[in-house]
Subunit: 270 residues, 2 copies
């Protein structure tokens, strides 16, 4: 099942069709079925039906806590010149940086080496503590796609990732949450301006979803709506004003975002 | 003005007195004046009055993003053997770890070197972007107190601060938000089991509030309810089961929390 969070493309067009300014809806083929409430706290159907053209995608969930795995694929760790971690230490990203499918990544004026990182996103559905690896998936609501946009110079020069990875618009996520994905059979394919640029088996992780959830839940409580970004493989070129990045994960759809200036790479002849 | 977030101590006692299970209230001397809504999104008085004995303190705000300055006082940096930062790179903490004034810090079984860190907390009240240092305080709603509880062995062994600083219950905050504090005249005094243990001038920071807010807001939007913990000075002993830590900041009250096992330091004769 696909869950979207949406607003009306034209707020004046069908004011009665949406239960709130920003609302959850089930996506059934091309039909958008708005609900009152949320899939995390309980919901009821409104009986309304909208078309995809009627709505604007919103970030599919605003997490209470935004977890992100930093280094979880060997090729990416090697190309970035980093050390392979010996245990699953999770990190954090910040809600200010979240944008939805279709919204623009804005590269600040002094951002010169901005990279994409296509990632699987795990969405927590149930409060969980002290789960074994075998029990770990019982707390998962579904999956979506993230682009962990990163400015490599700031990543090296700063003591934390605050602007390298958490500048406004640096965390595209969506387009929707899929509850029935098969992570074992999944591929991540990133395309730049319509041409394939990075491809990897999504589950070729150093530490898998079960290991992370079970390790984390020994020390902390996971809450409904928490998200866990699983890291990326491969290497991105420096992105420039006007570049369009699409991150496709098998069964999860395509997350598409345009990268815009004032910053970004200088292109030859540009 | 003091703002508390509270629930009823006895939920059955006065069900009509509280506008919701967890509610905001103004604190006027010992009188608790519940409101509908929040001081961030708008509120109205309910006309009810409660006594402090009627309520239980809740975490004064659940932030959209939880910012925390890591190293901001020279003595603390020296005693912990760390390097003095050359610019204000902000970090993050996690909402799962927040607890209120009066709640217990629970030290996990393998936590052996748990320290307190008494901190000033800045609470953002207005959406802000691109503020100059001179404008920075215009977005501040008020101030409260934080205890950035830290397990020093995990802080050294892990790649991130996920369990060292964000294990459940490791982030006491409160008791209330004070809108009229004078940061320049403020002292931070930490007491352990009733005896003063650490004292410093709160504003003796490497990088001050204005510098942090103006630097951050060049790259990110601050939102109402965001919090910024300003770092700590001094050094804590290893805490043990039963220890009570009080963090007092001039004009902001006292944040008191008991530290409990199963983990913690082994005391001689204990």
């Amino acid at each position: 099942m696909k869950w979207i969070r949406a607003s009306l493309a034209d707020p004046d067009a069908k004011p009665l069709a949406a239960p709130a300014e920003v609302f959850y809806a089930r996506l059934d083929d091309e039909r958008v079925l708005p609900v009152r409430g949320t899939p995390f706290d309980g919901f009821e159907q409104t009986g309304e039906r909208l078309r995809l053209d009627d709505i604007r995608f919103e970030v599919p969930v605003i997490p209470p806590t935004f977890y992100c795995v930093g280094l979880n694929y060997t090729r990416h760790i090697a190309t970035e010149g980093l050390r392979i971690p010996d245990k699953p230490d999770v990190g954090y990203r910040a809600n200010n940086a979240l944008i939805a499918h279709g919204q623009d990544v804005v590269m600040p004026p002094d951002a010169t080496s901005v990279h994409y990182e296509g990632e699987l996103v795990v969405v927590i559905g149930k409060r969980a503590r002290n789960l074994s690896a075998a029990e770990a998936r019982s707390c998962i609501f579904g999956y979506t796609i993230g682009n962990d946009v990163s400015e490599r110079n700031w990543q090296k020069s700063d003591r934390t990732f605050w602007r390298a990875k958490n500048s406004d618009t640096f965390k595209p996520m969506g387009p929707w949450i899929e509850t029935d994905a098969d992570v074992e059979q999944m591929e991540t394919v990133v395309s730049l301006n319509g041409r394939e640029s990075t491809r990897f088996h999504t589950n070729d992780m150093l530490f898998g979803i079960d290991t992370f959830i079970s390790t984390m839940s020994r020390y902390l409580t996971l809450y409904p709506g928490d998200i866990l970004w699983m890291g990326t493989d491969g290497h991105s070129p420096d992105l420039a004003d006007g570049d369009v990045v699409e991150v496709a994960l098998t069964g999860l759809g395509v997350l598409r975002n345009r990268f815009t200036g004032p910053g970004g790479a200088r292109r030859l002849g540009g």
